[in-house]
């Protein structure tokens, strides 16, 4: 099936999970990454079970923050 990941179309296996995609995409610091599918945020606890569908649009949002200390 074809999905869009970070703006690029990709061929992936059917029913690929978000967790599998994270590995496939070599996402650095997954613990600091928020995943959205079709603009819906996927809770970290659902990464293993959320299956992607044909035409899904996935974005990886890296945590951005900082502090004075």
């Amino acid at each position: 099936m074809t999905i869009t990941v970070s703006g690029n179309k990709k061929e992936v296996k059917d029913e690929l999970t978000v967790a599998e995609l994270i590995v496939l995409e070599n996402v650095e610091m997954p613990e600091y990454t928020t995943v959205s599918v079709n603009e819906e945020f996927i809770q970290r606890g659902d990464h293993e079970t959320h299956k992607l569908k044909e035409g899904d649009v996935v974005e990886f949002l890296y945590f951005m923050g900082g502090g004075r200390s």
């Binding site: 650095e28 610091m29 959205s36 949002l61 945590f63 951005m64």
Partner: protein
Amino acid sequence: MKIYLKKSDYEKILEYAVSELPNEACGLIAGIIRNDGEEEIRNIEKVYLLTNTDHSNEHFSLDPKEQLQSIKDMRENGLTPLGNWHSHPESPSRSSQEDIRLAFDKNANYLILSLMDRSNPVLNSFHVENGESTKEELIFID
């Protein structure tokens, strides 16, 4: 690397950061990357003003929803995400230990606006890699 920032975009960041005082303000930067000989040139074409979800004068986190909308806008406008910016209301324009710890992207430009001296705000850009922060050449243009 040289980074070019329009004065009007600098003013936009400054105005927003002042309006968010006493808290830190933050946002994203996007633009175009090109090469001039062997030197990389980054033109910041758009600055994004986001919500600091920490609502704190000591730390900041970008709002993921606004981050997503900003990324979409960058794509629609053919812009490349270049990094982020945040303000230091009461400290100098340099990366704190926490800024360095949470700077995960070595390709990003991290802009820090100091409002410590309100009559003399200072904006610098930093490259962060392997736990070290290095000041970059930031040039203001009309």
